[in-house]
Amino acid sequence: MTVDEDLVPDVRPEAVPDDAFTVLGRAPGEAPRAQVVAHLTEAARLVRRRDIQMVRAAGLGHIGGEFSVIDILVTLYLAAMNVSPDQLGDPDRDRFILSKGHAAAALYTTLAMAGFLPPEQLGTFMQPMSQLNGHPARTKIAAVEASTGPLGHGLPIAVGTAFAGKLDGSARRTFVVVGDGELQEGSNWEALMTAGNHRLSHLCVIVDRNRLQQGARVADTNDLEPLADKLAAFGMDVVEVDGHDHGALLDAFADVPAASGRPTAVIAHTDKGHPISFMSDNVAWHHKVPSAEQVAQALAELENR
């Protein structure tokens, strides 16, 4: 895939916050688990710091769903997945698709943390001609496997990716993150049926189970429960984890492909806006933009973690 090189950002310098961003890169491969977890914890903290400032500078973004998914993204890109910036052309690389594409800023910051994007590029988020569009585009960023934004696309694409891997006898795994509200889209269930029936063992569907959607709680809109039973009925091996616990996420991802030969569904229990006191589990923060004071408070809370 070649990216659209014509896109030269036309950046308003005043819109770019002066924020140092330390690229930690992958967790050391052979390190003891505690060290890996510490690496991921620090990376997630730095990613959240940068993310909130990007949203503030752009005046747009989906901070709630970004903060709920960051621990999952960081665990995948910095430890669990077999993919690196110099390996993007490798057909056997692990694949990742952010189906809830509105959390684009979380993906961009994580990609920068993992070395897939120059950190300076983060300053162009949503600026005219930027590659960092409000939703991730495969034609704009080499590491983005699928363009997403309209909910209900990523999982069917991931099923196709996993299907191709199975046809090729590849060991590669495909990870896809869907929102819980997103699971109201029927296309997901069509895809899950395909994945289950074809025993796509190398597919891992991660549900960012933060219990909120855009306007209300999922349970008050069109409830998903019993979610684990539904996923199991569609042929998944279902694991439930604390989606902010890097160690638990690592274990869940390490088990893919499952010995059963079935696809894995990880229900990652998260909080929208985690861990910021005034955002956490608060539906108002779906796409609210923080004030300068709120950014300062959030940064202070992140500092003290």
Partner: protein, 320 residues
């Protein structure tokens, strides 16, 4: 919400047409208890708060499920309700297109499809969230009325007309600020253009939020001695054939203007005129491309959907 911009010398009040949408819906629902709203987790973005408060039982929120939403709307119509199915235009049209085609249009259900924040209103959110295709796609569907009102008063009138019309109607409701455009006492009629400015040199035909921009372009052209006629076309389907044929005959040519792919209004007008009254044309809108990242204002500038861009197209047509 209203905002003001400094348009040269005069201050202009700009309106979000969603305010007129929800006020009209509440008014219609008060008068007729068959009126219901169907949404896809879009209560906030459809500005349905006042409706939700007043008629909580008549708000059907199917969640993030647009195909379900349009199908449920058709079923509600079949069950004797008058559904207003409201979602971001990009998802309402693109995701649920077959439901729009079959459940709404082919089945001729009395239902109103309300495409919120269309065109490039979601600017930086990108082409997935732009609804520049809606006019081009929907005008190909038989039996569907496709309306793009240009200001709050016209938005309210189209919705009232659609509530009473026994058939499917798509209404584009603009979020981007627009000034008041239609004259006092104006009555919306589908397939009826509104001559907002008489002119003999060239005709600007616009729809939706582009109408006020065409009027501004006519001012620019007037200052250069070009007398532009401005036709507002509130329905892309049906078109006002008589007004277009007359304009093609009486002026040097037609410039179409839309915040959409030029295969929407532009394509429709061209198809009509090529058989009825061939005339030189220029198309202002989005060409055959996915928009780059940028705010809606920046994108409108980028694609020349501005007074200057429209005036330039008219000059080009006139060979000036």
């Amino acid at each position: 919400m209203t905002a003001t911009i400094d348009a040269g010398a005069s201050e202009r009040v700009l309106h979000d047409c969603r305010d007129a949408w929800v006020a009209t819906l509440v008014e219609l629902a008060e008068a007729d208890d068959r009126v219901v709203a169907v949404v896809n987790d879009s209560v906030g973005s459809s500005k349905l708060g006042p409706f939700a408060e007043r008629f909580p039982d008549r708000l059907v929120n199917v969640g993030i499920a647009e195909q379900d939403m349009v199908g449920v709307g058709a079923g509600l119509a079949n069950g004797g309700k008058v559904p207003f199915v409201s979602a971001a235009s990009c998802f309402l049209t693109a995701r649920a297109m077959e439901q729009v085609k079959v459940d709404a249009a082919y089945s001729q259900h009395h239902m109103v499809l309300v495409g919120q924040s269309p065109g490039m209103a979601y600017g930086e959110l990108g082409p997935t969230h732009h609804s520049i295709e809606d006019l081009a796609w929907l005008r190909t569907i038989p039996g569907l009325t496709v309306a793009a009102p240009c200001d709050p008063a016209e938005t309210a009138q189209v919705l009232r007309w659609a509530a009473a019309h026994d058939g499917p109607v798509f209404v584009r409701v603009a979020r981007m600020g627009v000034p008041d455009v239609v004259p006092e006492g104006y009555r919306f009629e589908p397939g009826k253009a509104v001559t907002l400015r008489e002119g003999a040199d060239v005709t600007l035909v616009a729809t939706g939020i582009a109408v006020s921009r065409a009027l501004d372009a006519a001012d620019v052209l007037a200052a250069e001695g070009v007398d532009a006629r401005v036709l507002s076309m509130p329905t892309v389907k049906p078109l006002d054939e008589a007004a277009l044929v007359a304009a093609a005959r009486e002026t040097a040519g037609i410039v179409t203007v839309e915040e959409a792919l030029t295969s929407g209004l532009g394509g429709a007008v061209a198809e009509l005129l090529v058989t009825r009254q061939p005339a030189p044309m220029r198309f202002v809108g989005v060409p055959d491309t996915f928009a780059p990242t940028g705010s809606v204002q920046w994108l409108l500038e980028h694609f020349g959907i501005t007074a200057a861009g429209i005036a330039a197209a008219a000059r080009d047509l006139l060979g000036r």
